[in-house]
Amino acid sequence: MADSLLKVVDVYKSFVGVKALQDVTFSIQPGEIHCLAGENGSGKSTLIKIISGVYTPDAGSIEINGRQYNKLTPIEAINNGIQVIYQDFSIFPNLTVMENLAVNSELSEHRKLVNWKRMRTIAEDAVSKIDFDVDLDELVGSLSVAQKQMVAISRALIFNTKLIIMDEPTTALTKREVSNLFKIILKLKERGISILFVSHKLNEMYEISENFTILRNGKVVATGSTKELDAEKFSFHMTGRKFTKRHYRVERLSSEPMFEAKQAGVQNGFEDVTFSLHKGEILGVTGLLDSGRTELALSLFGMRPIDSGQFYMYGKPVTLSSPKAAIHNKIGFVPEDRLSEGLFLPQSIADNVVISEIDRLTKKAGLVDKEKRAEEIEKWVRELAIATPDPNNLCQTLSGGNQQRVVLAKWLACNLEMLVLNGPTVGVDIGSKHDIHGILQDLAKSGLGVIIISDDLPEVLENCSRVLVMKAGRIVADLETDKTDESVILSYMM
């Protein structure tokens, strides 16, 4: 282990009395792909920040290329070839893809004049490295979440780096993009570049990494070769809990469909989409990023009203022209981007829970009925086990899993017939994911129509009774989940 690229030795770090990291030791060899896993709050982010020089450890040291640092500055980290791709991408949404990719090298070379040709070459070179097919003159702000992340990844690859730390890089990527990324990672490995891959998805760890380290409550609970890890051990190390998988089984299926779409279409989104949803079932919709699944989700909630075809509820035609109309028809929607679309983070948990049903919590003339409001909040915080000492705390004080429960609570409070979820557990840790799945299954059993739009195939297979596969805006397969598997679904998706 003498020739480690990076060695973290006995690192301690605490914030105002809370131990974020305790006695953390691990190392990465040149060209090694190492996976760092852990739940939210396990200390992953703190560790990344210590490696990249943002935080100084309280005790312990970091060794890079055999040189020992007690205090590493961000500049020293970068000069030692350490690059971090954070989850928030650190990109400029108001600039084009080309500008985003080239701006750093333009700046670091102290160029005073913009050379568009040169910038284009840099940008073309960067995107080709990960076979990223994108219009370089597109504004980054108008790209999808996944494409934005691809821009950030391309940009980090421009630098001559020795270690790339990727903070959950696959969260918002499609299967194909993930496999593309993995190909790149392997190429980088051949060139001797190490990757610290932060993830909490076991299948990805298997596929890409040689070694792993799992953190829980700031301590290393397991480390070693990925080959020796299995699903059961993995979730136990991650959470300290043992789980049993709950495959969803339909118990009572209504004879009449509760919701139907007939030849529905939206321009530049999807076309000729026909399906029905019965009470008691959970319908999955999956597909690649550009398959039209997101557009379909938005249409079901009136955010992108359909311009051909028709939706029906209990056999009656309904027009979903706005979210308000959808809510009026008792349809709720858990959006893809929880942080910007689903929640009012700087407002209280309480207000977040009641906002969509607030019109019903009134006495006369729009006056808020305080007692009713308090009852509702109390009820939903309890029912969804939202971990907070006081619902008047701000929503941003909650962890990802608890925030997603708040989004769920908001809709359940509306007394829905149907709930559409777009990526219900993106960025949610295993424990909460398991709990959210449980909640959804119970809701479906009690008669709520549930549509889960997700590209997380294990999630779809575990929770849905039926899955629609979309490709290029059309439904290409309607499969029963207990008679199919991941490879079949994938073959329809590609």
């Binding site: 689903g342 009134t362 808020v368």
Partner: protein, 349 residues
């Protein structure tokens, strides 16, 4: 029966004030300024008449500030307050002129009519702003900057820049009056009514909750099924009505109406709202802070007037300087909030 915990109400009050940094800061500033005046100009500042004069002066811009506050809570702004106020007062001045009898008196219904119509005109002008913002997606700062100039332009076109006056003195006398045993100026009463109504809407009604949510995140508001356009229309309608009322109060104070009255109030009302702790990005702000800021500003203005060496021409310098200072201070308090938030999060895990 609930057990009421016995606590010292004064202590509770102090604790509540300390909890809100903006309010705390305002109270400190107010106390400091009042102490300074007590030491230097006690006799000329601390008189009942002086306080009554101040209470009659601040409502005209105080009401405007309340309107700007509502817009700012939604993440917008209203720069057309002065334009709307002057257009309302000029139109109402013409109405009063027409109603003024040969004996210089007014029919009994005249003043109520002026108030009803004035509110209506303000509402209509505000709605115009609302349409610009919601239908044509013009950023509020530009929409209201443009409409404000446009309204002033209409005033100029109607009046040719001259004051509309010579209507019955009864109007000014009624509004400049003091009620309740010659204690409370009518202007103050109007301000209190507006403040109570807005406080009620913001804190007790669904509309208020929705406004704060909309200001926090328009996107999340849409995904929560709120009718954001309707809310914004109502917002600018409200600020328009405040402007209309402020115009009517100004008309009484000057006993006339003119296109260029109250030019300094645009900046001043924004200063008040920021000083009062309303977040210019939306979603945050209390009416108590704004009222404290209104009072503080009036005290500053009147207090400075007690020093003849300082010319009132410095007032722009003062207001601009205070606005920048407050924003800089806000930067530091927000940053502290950020730090505290971080601590809160890390202690959770």
């Amino acid at each position: 029966m609930m057990d009421k915990v016995k606590t010292n109400p004064l202590k509770n009050g102090i604790a509540a004030v300390r909890k809100d940094q903006h309010i705390f800061r305002l109270v400190l500033m107010l106390i400091a300024w009042m102490l300074f005046l007590a030491i230097t100009r006690f006799g000329r500042f601390y008189s009942l008449l002086n306080f009554q004069t101040m209470a009659a002066q601040f409502p005209e811009f105080g009401i405007m500030a309340l309107g700007v506050m509502v817009a700012m809570i939604t993440g917008g702004i209203d720069l057309s307050m002065v334009g709307m106020a002057n257009l309302t007062s000029i139109l109402m001045a013409y109405l009063l002129l027409a109603l003024t009898g040969d004996d210089g008196g007014l029919p009994a219904y005249a003043i109520p009519l002026v108030f009803v119509l004035g509110l209506g005109i303000g509402a209509g002008l505000g709605l115009f702003n609302g349409v610009l913002v919601t239908k044509f997606h013009i950023p509020p700062i530009l929409a209201t900057l443009g409409s404000g100039e446009f309204f002033i332009g209409i005033c100029m076109a109607i009046t040719g820049g001259a004051a509309v006056s010579r209507f019955s003195r009864t109007y000014a006398r009624t509004i400049n009056n003091r009620i309740l045993g010659d204690m409370i100026p009518v202007q103050l009463l109007i301000f209190i009514i507006v403040a109570v109504v807005i406080w009620f809407f913001l804190t007790k009604t669904v509309f208020g909750t929705k406004l704060y949510m909309l200001g926090t995140s328009p996107k999340a508001a849409r995904f929560s099924g709120l009718n954001t356009n309707k809310l914004l229309l109502k917002t600018y309608l409200t600020s328009g009505m405040c402007a209309g009322l402020a115009g009517l109060v100004m008309m009484a104070n000057y006993n006339s109406a003119r296109a260029d009255y109250g030019g300094v109030y645009t900046l001043q009302s924004i200063l008040i709202v920021i000083l009062g702790g309303v977040n210019p990005l939306g979603g945050k702000g209390k009416i108590s802070g704004v009222i404290l800021a209104v009072v503080l500003l009036q005290m500053l203005q009147t207090g400075i007037n007690r020093f003849p060496a300082i010319s009132s021409y410095y007032i722009f310098l003062l207001w601009g300087g205070v606005l920048i200072l407050v924003m800089v201070l806000n930067f530091f308090t927000e940053r502290n909030d950020g730090l505290r938030f971080k601590k809160l999060v890390t202690t959770k895990f």
